[in-house]
Amino acid sequence: MNKKSLQTGVSRRTVMAAGLAGAGVLAMPSVLRAQDRSLKVGVYGGYFQSSFDEHIFPEFTKATGIAVESVAEPTGEAWLVQLEQAARAGQAPADVSMMSQVAMLKGKSTDLWTPLDLARLPNSTNLIPHFVNKYDDGRVAGIGAVAWYITLVTNTDTYPQAPDSWAALWDPANADKLGLLALVSNSFLLEVTAKTFMGGTEALDTEEGILEAFDKLAEVKPNVRLWYRDEAQFEQALKSGEIPMGQYYHDVTGLAAADGHPVRSTFPKEGGILDSGCWALSRASDKTDEALVFIDYMSQPAIQATMSRKVGTAPTVKRELTDLTDEEFAGVSSEIEPIVPRYDLYGERSDWLNQKWTELIVG
C-alpha cells in the first residue's frame, strides 16, 4: 500500500515537472510570437467551412502571417446565443464570426459587437454602402463578408419546365411537394408573400399588412411537405425528387447541379431573397488588431471574386471593382431586383412574429 502510493507520488511529481518544463517552453518569447498572431474565425459549419479552410484562410495566413483557426458555427441564431453567454463570462469561442443580419441586430441590442474603426479598414471603401453594418449611433458593428440568395429550387426530373414566379408555391398542383424553411426569421416568406401578392415589402409596415401576409401565406400550408431547420434534410430530398420544389440557397444548389444532380435554382421574376453575413468581432475578444487585418483582407475585390468562384457567394464589394465575368457573376447573382428582408421587423416585433408564425404552421 505504502509502496504504491509512493510510486504514484513520484510519477505525479514527474508529470508536474514535465508540465512545468512544457509551460516554460511555451512561455519562451520566440514561440510566443508565433502563437500570438492567430485568430479564431467562426464560419457556418460543413460545406462553407471546408471551402474557406481550403481556398481562403491559407492564402490569408500566407499574406499576413496570422494563423486562422476556423470554428464551425451552427446556422440560425444558436451561435449568437453561445457568443452572448460566453461574452458574459468574458470568453470568446471565436474572435471574428460570420453573422446573419438578424443575429447582427440582436447582438447590437446588447453591445456584443466591438465597434470597428473604418480608418483601419481601408478596403471597406470597396463595399456596397449597405454592407457596412452600423449601430444606431453610427459606430460600425460589422462589415459585409458575403451575400447569398435564397431562390426557388426545383428537381429537373419532376419539373422539366422551370417555374418563373414565387406564386408557384401557392399553385394547388404542387400539393405536398414543397420544402420550406421552418422559421420566420430565416425563411423570409412574409417578404416573399408581400412582394408577390401585395405590391412590395412596404406592405409589411403595418400590423394589418403583416396579418394579411400571414393569411395569404396560410394558403401555402397544404403544399408543404417539409418545414426544415436542417438544410441537409431538404437538400437530400430535393436531389432524390422526394420533395421536388422549395426554397433553398442558390450557391449550394448550383454546386449540386454542377455535380450532376437533377436540381436547378431559379430567380423568380419577383427576385431572389438577398441575405448576407457580416464579419463581427465579439466584445470578449482581445484580438482587435488581428481581426481588423482579417476583415480588411476579406474586403479586397480580388478575395471577394475568389469567394464567388470557390464558395459560390455573391460579392459584398461593388461589382465593377471585381474581375468577375458576366457569366461568373450570373452564377452567383442576378440582375433581377432582389427581395431584401425586412430585418427591422425581426428586431422590433420578433416575439410577436414568432408566435404568429408558429401558430400558422403548427396550428
Binding site: G76, E77, V81, T110, D176, L183, D351
Partner: protein, 285 residues
C-alpha cells in the same frame, strides 16, 4: 449480511459523492432554469434579471395547451405500445436457452448505440416514396406506384417506438428472468391454458414492474424532439421542439425555461398520480 448504521465520516462518504453529483448536475441547473423562467425577456436581445410572470402567462393559452396535450398523448401512446410489444417478447425470450437470450440482448444493446439522428433519417428513407419500402410493395404487385409514408403520425410513432423498445425490454428483462415459472406450471396443471396463465398469473405478479416501465418510457418519450421533426408534420411537433425553437433560434431563454419547468411539473404530477392510483389499488385487494 449485517449492516451497521453509518457513524464516521468515512461511512457517509460513499453516499456523499452521489449526493454532491446530484446537487451539482441536477439541482443547481434545475434551480437556474426555474430562476431564468422568471427573468424579463428583452425583445431582440437577451434577458435581464427580474421577477415577472409574463413567460408563464404567454404559455397559458389554448395553442400551447394543445401542443402540451399532444406531447403527453404521444408519450403515453409510445409507452403503451412499447410495453405491449416488449412484455410478451421479453417473457418468451426468458423461456429460451441462455445462449439465445444473450444473443438477443447483445442485438438490442447494439440498437441502443444508434443515435436519434440516425434512427430518424433511416426511417425517413425507409418510408420515403423514392427509396422506401413502398417500392417493394410495387415490385410484388401490391401497389400501383410507390407512395410516401412520411411525414405523418404513424411514422412518428414507428420511429419513437423503435427507439424506446430496447430500453423497455432491458428494463423488463431482470424482473421476468427472475419470475418463478412454477406458478404458471401450477396454473396449467390445474387446467388453465398457457394464454390464461400468462394473463392471470404473470401479468398481475409483475404489475409494479409494468407500471414502472410505463412511467420510464413515458418520461423518455416526453423529451423527444428530433424524431417528431424528421418524421412528422408541424402538428406533430412536441413541446420540446418549441422549447428548442425558443432557446436556440429565438434566444428567448426565459420563455424556453418557463415551458420546460411546466413540462417537468406536469410529467412529475402525472407520474405521482400513477403511483398514487397504483398504491391505492394495492392497499385494497
Amino acid at each position: 449480511m449485517r449492516r451497521d448504521k453509518p457513524r464516521t465520516l468515512a461511512d457517509h462518504l460513499p453516499l456523499a459523492f452521489p449526493a454532491v453529483m446530484l446537487v451539482v448536475f441536477f439541482v443547481v441547473p434545475f434551480g437556474t432554469m426555474i430562476a431564468v423562467s422568471f427573468f424579463r425577456r428583452q425583445q431582440g436581445g437577451f434577458y435581464t434579471v427580474d421577477f415577472v410572470l409574463a413567460n408563464y402567462e404567454r404559455f397559458l393559452t389554448a395553442f400551447f395547451g394543445n401542443v402540451l396535450g399532444f406531447s403527453l398523448l404521444l408519450a403515453a401512446a409510445v409507452a403503451v405500445c412499447c410495453v405491449v410489444l416488449a412484455f410478451p417478447f421479453t417473457y418468451f425470450l426468458t423461456c429460451r436457452a441462455r445462449r439465445v437470450q444473450v444473443a438477443w440482448l447483445i442485438a438490442l444493446l447494439s440498437v441502443l448505440s444508434l443515435s436519434e439522428v440516425i434512427i430518424g433519417f433511416a426511417w425517413s428513407t425507409l418510408l420515403s416514396r423514392t427509396a422506401g419500402i413502398s417500392n417493394l410493395l410495387v415490385a410484388v404487385g401490391l401497389l400501383d406506384q410507390p407512395v410516401a409514408l412520411v411525414p405523418n403520425f404513424a411514422a412518428v410513432m414507428v420511429g419513437m417506438v423503435y427507439q424506446a423498445l430496447p430500453y423497455t425490454i432491458l428494463v423488463l428483462y431482470p424482473a421476468l428472468v427472475r419470475l418463478d415459472n412454477s406458478f404458471v406450471e401450477a396454473a396449467c396443471t390445474l387446467g388453465a391454458s398457457p394464454l390464461r396463465g400468462f394473463f392471470t398469473i404473470v401479468i398481475p405478479m409483475l404489475r409494479n414492474t409494468i407500471v414502472a416501465t410505463l412511467i420510464m418510457v413515458f418520461v423518455f418519450a416526453l423529451g423527444a424532439y428530433l424524431l417528431p421533426q424528421i418524421l412528422g408534420r408541424p402538428q406533430h411537433w412536441t413541446l420540446s421542439v418549441l422549447i428548442t425553437d425558443q432557446a436556440i433560434y429565438q434566444s428567448n431563454m426565459p420563455f424556453a425555461a418557463a415551458m420546460a419547468v411546466f413540462l417537468v411539473l406536469i410529467s412529475l404530477a402525472l407520474v405521482g398520480l400513477t403511483l398514487l392510483v397504483g398504491g391505492r389499488r394495492e392497499a385494497t385487494p
